[in-house]
Amino acid sequence: MIIDPRTGSHPAVRFEHHPAVRGEIYRLNERDYRDSIIEETVRRTMKDVSAADPRMLLEETLYLERVRVKKSRASWLTAPYLASRNDRDRQFLSSIQGGMKQSVGLEDHRELLRSFSDHFATEICGHFEPAVYDLAIRMVPWMFSWLLNAASVKRFMPFGMSESLQTRLRVVGEVDQLQKLSRKGTILLVPTHLSNIDSLLVGYVIHLMSLPPFCYGAGLNLFSNAALSFSLSRLGAYTVDRQKSSLLYKTALKNYSTSILKRGIHSIFFPAGGRVRSGAIESHLKLGLLGTALQAQLERYQEGLPNPEIYIVPMVMSYPFVFEASSLIEDYLEASGKHRFMPNDGGEDVPLIKTMRFFWKLFATRSEMWVRIGRPLDVFGNFVDEDGHSIGPNGTRIDPRRLLMTEGEIKAVPQRDREYTGMLGQKISDRYHAENIVLSSHLVAYSLFSALRKNYPSLDLFRFLRLSRAQRAITKERFYEEAEACFKMVKHAADQGRLFLSTSLQCGDVRIWVEDGIRQLGLFHDAKVVRMDEGAVSTDDMNLLYYYRNRLTGYGFGCEISGETDEKGFLV
């Protein structure tokens, strides 16, 4: 890893304040430009659904929308933004319904369908306001360093010695290649998604790398906060409403994404579709949105646009602890275990307080967040070299246009393109594993979990997670023995380029990293995820231990649980 010794990050990452870099996204500021995107989105959507019976599709969309609005519990008191939106939707739906009663012809239905698509596209479409962006990038470090210094003991230090974000945030990886490629083509950044803080962090890291702002889809629920809504909608965020389940909406959303990528606006997707419940690195990606990259790439080639390439850049975040860990893993276990899972008692904290606590703990306790920029790929999952050329598995340059040729010409072939997108998804997931930075806390959790598992190898996972307190403890010697063995495997994998080790693991001294890992895990959660007492190592919370341990699954390190993959990639 290339690291600047002063910051611990890649040398091209600039923590000091610098002006925003301009990009194509600035044009979202222009009304005409936005209108042209909306119009294109509608045109594409109408084309995509042209094979369907317009009346059937209209009825279905109308029905699903009515059900959604009816079910929505957004009130003017708690979520005025959503409530006003629902009001508008209601009016729109009645007008469509009225239209359906009056007009009976095929063309009439098509026209109504078009206004439905237009309604969706307009809702999705994002703004961009340079002034808001400038303010935001000034605010974020200010906010971070306020938290940092307020939380840190160093606030008692003389002026000038105060902490800054750069001591806690490590941005490493292919930063300079990403910078270069962002000037040669269009970037689609695909980060892993563990926590709600990801969106904030990704946006800020993009600025630290001196890149222009990126366009991204933000859940409609985020817009319910007035302040957040104001800034999000002016930061290049477009609206994604997960409650809208109709085919027409999903098609419009995909087409919006295609349209902005085709215009060369750098974008961000979280390809897992949401936060990973299990704590593992994503292995099942949502391919719908990912497919828009290939579609946009194909059209950029067909139209002979300058700098046509779209580059897919994986980005992996590693946190020593995740503030939603308890609720995420419970969700996961509940969904996968059904009756076999018994939820813990006890309510949830108020999310806002929890968020504040997270940052407070993060900064008060010298823990490090790592962000790794992965090697860029083309839309087929081939690596891309410094100059933006695709590299085949044999190391020679290839022309990606050729992969889009069927029977001698570059054209869209839906079945082929779906398969390509599936392969890209697989490749991104593989790269997530390879670009993952293993922290001491992950390895400590993994070691304890596998030591315990070896005591009860035949127990069903859900029974295993309910071990009694006495059963959850092992001797210190046994723990260190397992930790050494696990370290050896991880080190070996790192040497083979299958993952990266954080600086605390690189030292290799088992006592040091174990102590560090236990401390990091203990910082945030009330329950001790790994507890080391006189002579014994145990856990207070098996579910959390499982959550943190899951980060190291998918590598075939042994001790797999049914449903995970072994070293050859086969399901156990």
Binding site: R402, T406, E407, V413, Y420
Partner: protein, 340 residues
């Protein structure tokens, strides 16, 4: 789809074994040019001058559109539309590494290799995908005894790929009035079908050697199919695939032919010879011996029930005699027939 494109296309076949030669003749009927790559220069020269393959199927006259070459530079001197790998499984990766620099990305790649990569348990199409700058890859498999096709007897094959592009190419290039091409997206099932049948060819040789009749042979084949399905499903294949040409079809052809190496291994083992002696006598690699070991190990570790494979394994290892093996299979607990 447009047949015109493929009738004007150029095809390269890598490997001039018996099946490679047969494929070349089939493709020549549908394309404008077929290039066959063989390793030995004199073989290439002989093929070009005598219009037959001196090593295999000497009665088969090569189509005038076929040219034989002995270097990859020559083989890929024109833009190619379809490349067919017809190397033995153990040579595939190493040859693919050499071929990779010549491919550009728009070619369709098919392979006609039955077997898997031993260490990694990777299927041939996975090996090719790791080495070639090509994404559209498919497999050809089925009951295709080369000699019969060469004589012009009617036959059928399966072309499998996740890509319709590959399937269409396979249909357009290989299908003739005497050679039907069936298609499927389940390449996993097709490739494992072509691999697993070799185990049962050994078993079939054992039965033949014992002079046993059709009842037990059919019994063995149908239970073998059940094992193939169970194993295939564990590998991510669709069970229906094994009912097709690449499963049942290939199983019957391989187990009925007493010419195959695997069959002969079983035949001689049952006579009481040791595996070492049999293999030395054969002087060739019998794919089934390695396949049996790999599949048995995997099925054991995953709890996939494969009693015939287990029995063949023990006989190969010399732990059981053929009679002991047979007794073992006949005295297993009784189960419902269709239980897969």
């Amino acid at each position: 789809m447009k047949k015109a494109f493929w009738s004007d296309s150029k095809v390269v076949i890598l490997g001039g074994g018996s099946f490679g030669t047969v494929l070349a003749n089939l493709a020549a009927a549908n394309c404008s040019q077929v290039t066959v790559y063989v390793r030995a220069e004199d073989q290439a020269r002989a093929m070009n001058s005598t219009r037959m393959n001196p090593n295999y199927l000497k009665d088969l006259v090569l189509d005038p559109k076929i040219r034989a070459v002995s270097s990859f530079e020559k083989a890929f001197e024109f833009e190619q539309d379809l490349v067919i790998f017809a190397f033995p499984s153990h040579a595939t990766r190493e040859q693919a590494k050499l071929v990779a620099p010549f491919l550009k990305g728009n070619e369709i790649v098919l392979h006609a290799t039955k077997g898997i990569e031993e260490q990694s348990l990777k299927r041939i199409s996975q090996v090719l995908a790791e080495e070639l700058p090509i994404l559209r890859i498919g497999a050809i498999s089925g009951p295709n005894l080369a000699g019969e096709i060469a004589r012009g007897e009617p036959a059928a094959t399966v072309v499998a790929s996740r890509f319709d592009d590959v399937i269409r190419a396979g249909e357009a290039v290989l299908a003739t009035d005497l050679f039907r091409v069936y298609t499927t997206h389940d390449i996993t099932g097709v490739e494992w079908g072509g691999t697993l049948k070799n185990i049962f060819a050994i078993a079939s040789g054992i039965l033949e050697s014992k002079g046993l009749g059709w009842n037990i042979r059919s019994f063995m084949l149908s239970r073998a199919l059940a094992e193939m399905v169970r194993f295939g499903v564990a590998m991510g294949a669709e069970p229906e695939t094994f009912l097709g040409l690449a499963g049942m079809g290939d199983l019957i052809a391989t187990c009925s032919s007493n010419q195959s190496r695997n069959f002969r291994v079983g035949f001689h083992l049952a006579k009481g010879e040791t595996l070492e002696d049999v293999l030395r006598e054969l002087g060739q690699v019998a794919e089934g011996v390695r396949t049996t070991r790999i599949v048995r190990e995997f099925s054991k570790s995953r709890g996939v029930e494969m009693p015939i494979t287990e029995t063949v394994f023990r006989i190969l290892e010399g732990e059981w005699s053929a009679d002991e093996g047979l007794r073992h299979l006949m005295t297993r607990p009784l189960v419902q027939d269709e239980r897969a």
